[in-house]
Subunit: 254 residues, 2 copies
């Protein structure tokens, strides 16, 4: 396939290396910053542009992997005459933003993609959607080559996945940081919690989370909960989070 | 050492197997339920009782491992004349509840101890506290034999650890369940999030959590946040949790 990458950030880079490893031909890299486009293009031995009107028109696949905030504007500026299929990679963005293209869709990798992320293991689940039967069939085919865990999901399901990933990834990480801060304020090392953090994430690989729920909220141990809330007083955000998550766990048991 | 176990639940059982593996002599198991005391005692080839006044007086170490709610009453009923050192294993309970005994302290394993938990790997961090120099020295010695990661921590530090463990273990697990419920309602498998859950817990083994924080709150992507809140409308508890954790992550960046 001949591919144009729109974007030069972590997601675009991870896809670039994946496409390269599969023998595809990356024709061009676009970024608003020519510098950044050139940096990624140099790694791939291809050309760079910072002008959306100069996008190569001969590609089979255009991958829009820019920040969610920029997607709509980038798409507006892209020439409508592209004949290849145009996809974005965003979990929270509906496929509808791409309707100006006759063939379009979504390739959504369910991973928190950072600088060193690598999709080449093909273990990252990838959600696929197309705007019609041809696009869907084509993208499912591409999806199969990109990951052992590609699957069809519509825009509503993808939004559900994105929200669920925020809860199980972004928010858990934020809770780890609360734990870190509490320990630090008491001259204790975060190392002490690393085993229990690993264990908690490991347990849900094989169990439904609520079946392995433990702790004072689960035991309805109000005395301990009160002690904890007393400990947290003066930190209203932490207190509210404690109260709401305690409420959540209690409701789970009824 | 000659040991009496007060309690027959998961924590008591895990300690029993650990003590046994180290060659200690478990003299007796107490439980409010004679049945349960006998079940654990049978496994250990020792005697059982459901009466605290019949507790064997010749032990060197008494381990009170009952639910947090029951600790104070059990301690009240224990004969004051015990010459051995009396410890509890609770994260949220001050050592002060044990002051009627001349030698007392705490052995607190930082693990969510369930039915199949095993402390014999000696990898579980164990916090140690004693009520005077003799008790502390003795318990630190015992701690060293129980875990490669035993350490001294006072009652305030232990409470901090317990609260931090609730955030990084109980609460993260509750968030996994929210993700599970969202996916289920949208006909998606929780399997899709297992890699990202494992990856998130893995990252903080080597990084400070806030350094690897990602997501719309971190990017200040209000459009995506609004889409997510819209998705969650009708679930007030989930919405509040989303809002408070978003606020938490935003504050982290300033």
């Amino acid at each position: 396939m001949k591919i144009v990458l729109i974007g030069s950030g972590n997601v675009s880079t991870a896809f670039a290396h994946l496409f390269e490893s599969l023998g595809h031909d990356i024709l061009q890299v676009y970024s608003r910053s020519l510098d950044q486009a050139e940096r990624l293009a140099a790694k791939l031995g291809t050309s760079a542009t910072s002008s959306l009107t100069d996008i190569n028109k001969t590609a089979n696949l255009y991958v829009v992997a820019v920040t969610d905030n920029a997607i709509e504007q980038v798409i507006e500026e892209l020439p409508q005459s592209l004949k290849g299929i145009v996809v974005h990679t965003s979990g929270a963005t509906s496929m509808d933003v791409l309707t100006k293209f006759p063939l379009c869709g979504v390739i959504y990798p369910i991973q928190s993609i950072s600088k060193d992320s690598d999709l080449r293991s093909k273990e990252t689940p990838i959600g696929i959607e197309g705007n019609n039967e041809i696009a869907t069939a084509l993208l499912l085919e591409i999806g199969k080559s990109l990951s052992k865990k590609s699957f069809y999901c519509d825009s509503k399901q993808r939004l559900a996945l994105h929200v669920a990933a925020v809860f199980s990834n972004n928010f858990t990480n934020a809770l780890y940081q609360v734990a870190f801060d509490i320990l630090k304020a008491n001259n204790l090392s975060f190392d002490l919690l690393k085993p229990i953090i690993a264990e908690t994430a490991e347990k849900v690989q094989h169990h439904i989370p609520k079946e392995v729920q433990t702790g004072p909220a689960k035991r309805n141990d109000q005395k301990t909960i009160d002690r904890h809330l007393d400990f947290l007083s003066g930190k209203p955000n932490w207190e509210t989070i404690y109260q709401e998550l305690t409420r959540l766990i209690r409701n789970k048991d009824t």
